[in-house]
């Protein structure tokens, strides 16, 4: 069994309304010195294979087909 951790974040410059609103809220709550807040999404995907390479290849395809939009997202995959 292989576990793959996929992290998807927005490319620099892409608007992140959730992050922006978090920033606004943090400032309103009086947290000084907060200058930016960004959101990331993390998936842990378990695969019934022994080959890490194969798993990574598969998860990469998943990222391209479902988990990300290449226009706005970057992603990283870690397998263990």
């Amino acid at each position: 069994m292989v576990k793959a951790h996929v992290t998807v974040h927005l490319k620099p410059g892409i608007s992140d309304p959730e992050g922006n609103n978090t920033l606004k809220a943090l400032q309103l709550l009086g947290f000084d010195g907060v200058v930016a807040a960004h959101t990331t999404r993390v998936w842990t995907i378990e695969l019934a294979t022994k080959s890490k390479d194969k798993a990574k290849e598969q998860v990469d395809a998943m990222c391209r087909r479902l988990l990300t939009n290449p226009v706005i997202h970057d992603y990283t995959i870690k397998v263990e």
């Binding site: 410059g13 939009n69 290449p70 226009v71």
Partner: protein, 879 residues
Amino acid sequence: MHSASVRRNKGDKLTKKANQQRKVAVAKVAAKGPARTVPLAGKRPARKPFKQSIIKKVKAAAPAKAGKTASKPAGKATAGAPTWERHVKKQDVGFPLRTFDLDAMSDDELVACSKAMGIRLSLAEMHSARGYFQSKGRDPTDVEMEALGQAWSEHCCYKSSKPILKKYVYGIAEEQLICREDAGVLPFDGDWYYSPKLESHNHPSAIEPYGGAATGIGGVIRDVVCMGAQPVALLDPLFFGPLDTPLDKLPPGVKHPRFLLSGVIEGIRDYGNRVGIPTVAGGITFHPGYTGNCLVNVGCVGILHKDALTHSKAGGVGDVFVYLGNPTGRDGIHGVAFASEELSEASEEASRSAVQVGDAILKEPLIHVTLELIADKLVTGCKDFGGGGLSCVAGELAYDAGFGCEIQLDAVPLKVPTMAPWEIWVSESQERMMVTAKPAQVERILQIAKKWDVPAAVVGKVIKEKVNRVRYKGTKVLEFDLSFSTGGPVYDRPMKAPTINRQDWLTFEQPKDLSQTLLWMLAHPNVMSKEWVIRQYDHEVRANTVLKPLQGVIGSEGPGDAAVLKPVPTSKKGLALSSDVNPNYCLRDPFWGAASAVDETVRNLAAVGARLSSILDNLNFGNPEKPERMWELSESARGLGTMARALNIPFASGNISLYNQGPTGPIPPTPTVMGCGILSNFEHATTMDLKKAGDKLYLVGHTYRDLGGSLYLESMKKSKGERVPQTDPEILAVSADLVVTAIEKGLVRAAHDCSEGGIAVALAEMAFAGKLGAKADLAPLGAFGDERNLQPGPMRSDHKLFSESNSRWIVEVPAAKEQAFLALFDKPVVKGLCYPLGEVVREPTVTIVDGSKPLIQVGVEACRAAWRDAMPKLMGVSA
């Protein structure tokens, strides 16, 4: 395309990789190509002795060893290498800008260039572009090439469909329209108008269902808003492959219909619900032909006071363009070009960037800003950014008013600061609106935008010359005569008509247990309850919804014929909406299929008590370059036009979506029809559920042997033969009017139209929705024979039961009002049109006989269970 576009942005992390790739590519080309001199350097010297330099360049470019003329395929020598790139020059202007030496390109290179850029212009179109720039004595920039690709796409200029539309659907009852621009505008009541629009978002939804469907909603809302109307309702006719398609039967690159359906529903739900507009009607149709290319049609209706009517054109010279809404991003680039070709296995990943990323949370305030600006009379014109983006919106606003425009691209708010000028110009990012205004009003416009937290910027001005001129950081990057860019090509494409046998009568045994056939029909995907979907949509927000999509006794509802709204507080009039089309008819007979769609729309509206006021058509077809598809389009348009003309009803608006053709082949011809009807008083709105035991049941309309494309034939596993339902618009018009009159006079307690599954399905639905039983005898039907199908003798019982003849309703009439009801039909055209069918009974059973012959006896609970449980089962969720 992105890597090509973002090159040469020094120090830009995003594009480093692209740069590297690009450098390699450029190095290769440089090694092969001729020595490159870049004399333009930002300024455009008037290259008047241009012709000569062309010849020179052609000579230099042509492979000397071959010794052929330039029009020969120069690319062949270097087998497959992108030789067209030799003729592209980077301009040293401090930002990414290229010019294209079209004169030097061979035909093969022109085609390769168009393809590689993703602008999808044909060779002939590339030639006319070349001719234009030759006459101007200069080379086009990438901004210009991309802009042409958009302006001349099928999606934007209707190059294949225009001749057909002109011939069949333009110019019908136009005097009833107030205007028809981004959306239609028609009178509603007194000083109030309504503004409907129907369009498609098919290709994006097939690739990225959630974003595709959501932005489809966003787009259609903007069309209505820019007329000055407050959107009040949405409706969504959707078309998918069968939900139970085995995974291993799907061709590569095709997503499972269940995946697509879930994504599309979520997209519509999230966008529609968040933006606060109720989704009140629509439908989901399943057919294997949609597996490779699902269809997402979206409709919207708005309401406006006549003073708010705003035209999609600039007011006058000196007006400024104010950009409102979402900053422009890289999403939705090449959306229209991608919508103008077939989907392929590679589309899934290659075309992701063509799908926009929606943001409903920004759309809501954008609607407020636009409507406030209009109410305060601060704008002279308004148009939404649709397919084609800035490139189309600026040009059309100016051109339609008889002027030109000058745009400063660097003033456009951006999501990504490193975007190349051509990307800014053609991006189809969502939630953007363009208004024109007198310069004196700009300050207030910007204030109002700021109040709603919506980005806004002045991006250009209206000029007298009929020219579209675009500057970026001081450099002119585009200059078109507007008549050139907006005067796209028009094609009279060849057609090929198959022969349709409208008298191919089949012989088959009547099944032993017709009750089982009825239950099978109720559970059929095209009949089954769509409650699983409907309940995800907010159909009541704004609190104007009088009749909802599901009607009847709470907990036992049935499918309503049309939704009814009460959109104006001071008016008692109601607005009814419905959408229809049956691809099974259209596939066999596009003419009568399209006519049937109009017929069904009329009767759905009449069933709730509304008179048809306007129709909208969304023509979804396959690849128009294939003569068979072109014929389908033409026949369907003829069917729609014939009906509209006979009914004297205008097309409020329309949309065409071609190239709906995926790895599983072309879609069935799908001329979706949306109908807007008006109720003289919303209190008359009538639902379809049976209301009281003892009431009489009547069938309005003749029953013929119309089995082609019917559910009954499908239950027999017969995919061919018989004739699809035809219609007589004169009878339809008179009988629909009488049904509405009867409703207005309070003579009708329930009404439901007969469509798929004929009388049997309609009656079962009415019964379970009212938790009452029904007894019906079909003996009076078809007694006079069937003069239309040339078949002598009485009709067979099973044909009467399941025939899908058009222009029919089942109505429930209180016993005391029977005489008054029948008296209505005592006039020419409709004499003998009203058949006594039976009565409503307390015992919850549907019993149908033909004289002494029993046909159906089934409990209403069993009917409703079959109808209700089918979709959750198919979607793999518990009921």
